[in-house]
């Protein structure tokens, strides 16, 4: 498969409740050009990954996970276990075998 990517997606801190309570997903993303045929998008960034998650994984109440074109404030995003704020957030370009983690901070403590 040309330009397809294997990505590990993890959900935690309660975010998994929106995804059938499944914490770990291994997904194969098709070539970005194929997935977004009517756009000039050529690469998978976090921004596109969120769209893909919304289309393919998100089971309920999308407003609790997404806000605008980003995650809802209060959901932490880790790229290979490091804060996405260090890597350009939505603009980070996904690499094969990347591990992307979403942790909700929004549940009671």
């Amino acid at each position: 498969m040309e330009n397809s990517l294997n990505i590990h997606i993890h959900f935690g801190g309660g975010a998994e409740l929106l995804f059938d309570k499944i914490k770990k997903h291994v997904v194969e993303l098709p070539a970005a050009r194929k997935y977004f045929p009517d756009t000039d998008i050529e690469k998978w960034r976090i921004k596109e990954l969120l769209q893909w998650i919304k289309d393919n994984l998100l089971k309920e109440r999308p407003e609790l996970f997404l806000q605008g074109d980003s995650v809802r404030p209060g959901i932490l995003v880790l790229i290979n276990d490091a804060d996405w704020e260090l890597f350009g957030e939505l603009e980070y370009e996904l690499q094969n075998n990347d591990e992307i983690t979403f942790i909700s901070t929004l549940h009671g403590g």
Partner: protein
């Protein structure tokens, strides 16, 4: 492109701190995180050497991190604290029962004693039962008021100096509440993001299911607003806490003073504490009693008492009629004393809102109107109706041969019945709060 750790340790940064904007590696973050909490503790002198401290543990991220950090700091800086865990079981199936398992894990991991207090034991009601009464609208009021007091009671039982709660900076910016027994909040300057990152990197196990009775309602709007603000300007959390802490109160403003609740004798800011008011509402079948303005509550109580008095009048009228032997039942002349008895008994049972089995027993047991009169007087005059009822009925059943065979079972079932009944018939003395 990797970002280096700002502490200069040579490693790559793993996160950006919301409070300072510093980029740090895991190890340097742990140190910064723990040291800041240590400074919060030292600077505000939250603890004294030798203190016993109860950590309010819910199994959630904040209290789990708090327990871990306090144990770490207590050893590292030799605070000399005796730490223990205190949990409240609200009785919420599918939520607290699971989270308590996490707390038990904390107990084993951190080798601390754990005390669990339940709403059922303290107040006679679980949250499941309260929600069945009040619905899902104001249930959090009950839960919040009861929990605050339950923590105080637990602290008194454990004989601790103070309760450490896991409230973090985000929580305090959202609300800012206080209790009666000293509360300390070592995480009060700690950002939620860092707590979650700390738990994640340390692989601490915590419970993160939302309460089944408050889905998404967890201080929803304030929380969402704050998170949006934090995204734009992370220091806003600290700014809000700062403004709260430096808020001045004019001298002429009277602040609530600590006193003793006249009912449960526990610390309160009112003559009767909020928990007792809420409980009275539950027990009298007026669950909305403690919700909203006190003037409204007063009106509700007056109406309730008026209804009770009406009921007494009706019953005594029927009794008078019965004595004259020309009673009226369902619009027709009553044919026998027996029927009258049943009628009166039913009236009474409605008044007492007890269950049908007890009704049946009484129908059969009560055979003469003089005995009923005694019973009625007990009901009418005494607030301890259920107890008196039990004694009288027991006395009668021993006279009655029909019931001798089943006497033992009868008594047991009656006692059980009465236990079940006190929850709904307005007896304040049913609160088995022993301290």
């Amino acid at each position: 492109m990797p970002v280096p750790c700002k502490a200069g340790c040579g490693k790559n940064a793993m996160l950006k701190r919301p409070k300072t904007g510093d980029t740090l590696c895991k190890e340097c973050f742990f140190e910064a995180f723990e040291t800041e909490i240590h400074f919060t503790i030292i600077k505000a002198e939250l603890f004294n050497r030798g203190d016993s401290v109860a950590i309010a543990a819910s199994g959630g991220k904040d209290s789990t991190v708090l327990a871990h950090v306090l144990k770490t700091l207590n050893q590292r800086y030799d605070y000399g604290l005796n730490l223990m865990l205190l949990s409240i079981d609200e009785g919420i199936t599918g939520y607290r029962d699971d989270s308590l398992e996490t707390v038990k894990q904390n107990r084993d991991d951190y080798e601390m004693n754990l005390k669990i207090l339940s709403y059922k034991d303290l107040y006679g009601w679980t949250m499941d039962e309260i929600v069945a009464q009040i619905g899902r609208k104001n249930n959090c009021t009950f839960c919040g008021v009861f929990r605050r007091q339950a923590l105080d009671r637990g602290a008194a039982m454990l004989n601790v100096k103070c309760i450490a709660t896991g409230h973090n900076a985000d929580d305090i910016a959202e609300t800012g509440s206080e209790g009666t027994i000293p509360r300390v909040k070592p995480l009060k300057y700690t950002y939620e993001k860092e707590i979650v990152m700390y738990a994640h990197y340390k692989k601490l196990v915590y419970f993160s299911t939302e309460c089944v009775f408050a889905p998404n309602a967890y201080r929803g709007h304030a929380r969402a607003l704050l998170k949006d603000l934090e995204k734009i300007r992370p220091t806003c959390i600290m700014d809000i806490i700062y403004s709260g802490e430096t808020m001045a109160v004019k001298e002429e403003v009277s602040l609530p003073t600590q006193r003793i609740c006249t009912r449960c004798k526990f610390v309160s800011s009112q003559e009767v504490c909020k928990a007792c008011v809420l409980l009275e509402g539950l027990n009298k079948g007026l669950p909305k009693l403690g919700i909203g303005k006190s003037s409204k509550a007063k009106k509700m109580l007056e109406e309730y008492n008026a209804n009770q008095n009406n009921m007494k009048t009706v019953i005594s009228n029927i009794n008078d009629d019965c004595k004259k032997n020309n009673c009226v039942s369902r619009g027709k002349v009553c044919r026998s004393n027996r029927n009258t008895t049943n009628y009166v008994e039913k009236e009474k049972n409605e008044d007492k809102c007890c269950s049908s089995t007890q009704e049946k027993t009484k129908d059969s047991v009560a055979t003469s109107s003089s005995k009923i009169n005694t019973l009625l007087q007990d009901y009418g005059i005494s607030e301890n109706g259920c107890v008196d009822d039990k004694i009288t009925l027991n006395g009668e059943s021993s006279e009655n041969h029909n019931f001798e065979v089943d006497l033992h079972n009868e008594d047991t079932s009656l006692i059980e019945e009465n236990d079940a009944c006190v929850g709904a018939c307005g007896k304040m003395d049913s609160l088995q709060i022993g301290f």
